[in-house]
């Protein structure tokens, strides 16, 4: 087996040490070593979006990022983002709209939606569909997810005004 290196990752605001082989992905390290299992391995190929995390505030596929390359990045996962009021608004909107069934895609979906609302406070329906089109859901048919993100955007805009 190839050698392993120690890497310090900035995850959810904490410096966490992990050991990683050159080929280990960020997803493998955060799940198997740091036990942050909110990011899911749906395809391990960058297609399904279930492993989405934020890297320097940008949504990335943690199954396509090599852990050793992430030592200079600020990584945020669903576990850390759940403390953010905007994420909580999204989470409430997902619950109210019934925007998930099995919930396997949900953490990745929420992280992608959070990134969208960070860059676009009042997305249209088609903005939402485009921004989330790399996140697959096999349960819902997507309608209630679109409604949830629209609802969250409205609630957040109202909060800004208030």
């Amino acid at each position: 087996m190839s050698g392993r290196d120690t890497v310090t990752l900035n995850i959810n605001g904490a410096a966490l040490q992990a050991s990683a082989a050159a080929s280990d992905t960020l997803l493998t390290v955060i799940r198997d070593q740091l036990l942050l299992t909110g990011a899911k391995r749906g395809c391990n190929q960058g297609v399904c979006g279930a492993c989405t995390v934020l890297s320097d505030s940008q949504p990335v596929r943690s199954c396509l990022s090599l852990a050793l390359d992430c030592d200079d990045k600020r990584i945020e996962t669903i576990e850390g983002l759940s403390n953010d009021p905007a994420m909580q608004t999204l989470q409430h909107a997902f619950i109210a709209a019934g925007a998930f069934q099995c919930g396997f895609c949900t953490p990745g979906m929420l992280v992608a939606a959070f990134a969208l609302l960070t860059s676009n406070q009042r997305p249209s329906e088609i903005d939402i569909r485009r921004a989330l089109s790399g996140n697959l859901c096999r349960c819902t048919g997507y309608k209630k997810i679109v409604e949830a993100v629209l609802g969250a955007a409205e609630a957040l805009a109202w909060k800004v005004v208030a």
């Binding site: 299992t37 899911k40 069934q101 953490p107 096999r138 048919g141």
Partner: protein
Amino acid sequence: MSKTADFGVGKSAPQIEAQEKVCGSAQFIADLYRPNMLFGAVLQSPHAHARILNYDLSQALAMTGVRAIVTGDDLQESWRMGAFIKDEHALAKGKLRYVGEPVAAVAADTEAIARAAAAAINVTYEELPAALSPEAALSPGAAVIHEEAAEYLKVFEAGTKGNLCSRTSFREGDIERGWRDSDLIFEARYQTQPQAHVSLEPCGALAEMDANGRVTLWSANQSVFRVQANVSESLGMPMSRLRCLTPRIGAGFGNKMEPHIQPITVLLAMKAKRPVKLILSREQDFEMVRARHPFEIRIKTGVKRDGTLIAREVDVLLDGGAFADDSPGVLGYALLMSCGPYRIPHAYCHGRLAYTNKIRFGAFRGFGVPQVTFAGETQIDEIADALGLDPIDFRLKNLKREGDCWLGGQPIASNGLADCLEKVRKASGWNGERRLPKAGESRRALGVSCSAHISGLLSTGAIVRLLEDGTVLLNTGSVDIGQGSNTVLSQICAEALSIPLDRVSIASPDTDGSPYNWGTTASRVTYMTGTSVVGAAAEVERKIKDHAAEILECAPADLELIPGGLVAVKGIPHRHVSFAAVSGRAHWAAGGPIIGSHSWVFDQKTVDPKRASVVGLPFPQIGAFVFNATVADVEIDETTGKCRVDRAWSACDVGRAINPQMVEGQIEGAFVQGLGFALFEEMVWNGAQIANPTLMDYKIPTFMEAPSELHAIIVESNDPRGPYGAKSVGEIGINSVAAAITNAVNASLAVRLRRLPLTPQRVLEAMLESARR
């Protein structure tokens, strides 16, 4: 009263697991870890059909970190599993029967070591000729896939012979007379493709053996009891030595109902004497679990000139793949549903199921009905067009009604299909002209389809316990695969006992502690388990009243439950006692803890022998019918042939919506899964190998392909037997989708497309053919 008092039956309670699902703390099988746990990996078959001559494990066993390797040599010949035909070992023994089949498995310190060791196993094979299609498999001289097929244990009369796995037929009326009585006869062949489930969560399992040799098994599943049965059969273990549990499930759609790699994982854990977790990669999930059957369908339908359906013959040929799995059930059920929801006095529906050297095909949402509905409902449109009748009027004229019998003879207790059709007609603005105005280079048209499904099958149970403080613990053994059954069953329990939803907790299914439940499959949980919850709660209510009668010094019949966990003298609400007081008395003074239980088996006969003659039916008692009507507005790009469903309406008669938002979610999700089946999803083989076992190459609908307008319409016929009138919703919404979309395309192009999926190439070719005419 608590704030959740309003979440009884008919209210859209959020999923009770909502918080954990949005915070990323919901634990699916891959999220479980045990002390000293090893990781598993599987070696897959490189051949479609081959004899295993020898395993050389020396190189793999010499690798650092390898703890156990299992092969077919660890299994006894008689250890075979199977829902209908016991034809399958935990992993290949003696022979390989498809590319991708598990041949051996490794447990090692890390996943990477396990994979490397699996690749280092050397197996010597003798290749055999393969049969890669049902036609080839049933041809004279074809290679025999199961030499011992005739001797396998079967749970029904299958008629197995050579590569013919099973055959089924239904006869009702007199088909020859039917043809004579018909003015017009329509006949055509239809083909449907294999579809992959693509639950976002790949299959996986985690097994652990204790010092006494008893095994605990967690896995991605749709029934802890089917997991227990399959592992027990395939490893020669008594069921009592095996405890099966469930984490959260990342959806199923049929994929996780019967076994995947649970038996292999248990075998590894027993050999390594350490916990083993084995999670399939997405590719392996495509290659070794199961998929929707491709169907070859021939339908012949006779009709009077006035639009009365007279006769139908259906002939289907199914590719079952290498093992029977649920295929005999799919064949029998598809035929049972193949005349559609129509009065057709003369019917002859028959079909065959072939073993082939492919992955097993099995249960997938709709269970064969999307396939026969595609054929039957596109033909119904063709007949309506030929007779100059509006397709909705033609359907309404021929519908079975309440009190009519289904094919085979079972009476229909409730039927809201006419209402479904009228609702989609109105909502879609259907006015008889199916072609809609062209928009630029796009043609548009509406298409309609009807379908039916069932809600009742096999057995189930529920236990309701009143805890010391008067709160309630519900235990059903029904696995929530994401659709929300934990919430719905809790709502039923809360309603039955007039308590707020948050006073009911639901136990996680556990073969040690839960009452039997056949499975979260066949759209059956709300109807079957819901009925048991009502029954168990009624027993608790009786016992509560017995205690309260003693406390309040009155007769039990004079008492009633009042909201909030109280029991009071009828009409005198202040003369009450709380459930807590009653339960305290039961626990500490008299009678013992209050426990209610109920179990039952669906007992309506599918076949009335005075009405129909049926051969090879694997489900003698299946029913409680639900109905759907779907309209799709499909846009066709004239340049590329690409179809897009812009708007859709799906009305489902679900009996009663226990949780309307969840019912909508099922209808919407089913529509979009059906849209993928209709337009582009297709597993493709390159010779014996699946050519597209990745999400790069096998596309499922994204946000962009889903309709911009998707209207789920709930119709409530209030079934007299269902819990609070409820029937089912899990599958009904998918059955019509491909037919409705195809009928729209056919109306647009004035052609008849008879093969799925409707790829741009096929649509373009049809458009050119139509222009040539």
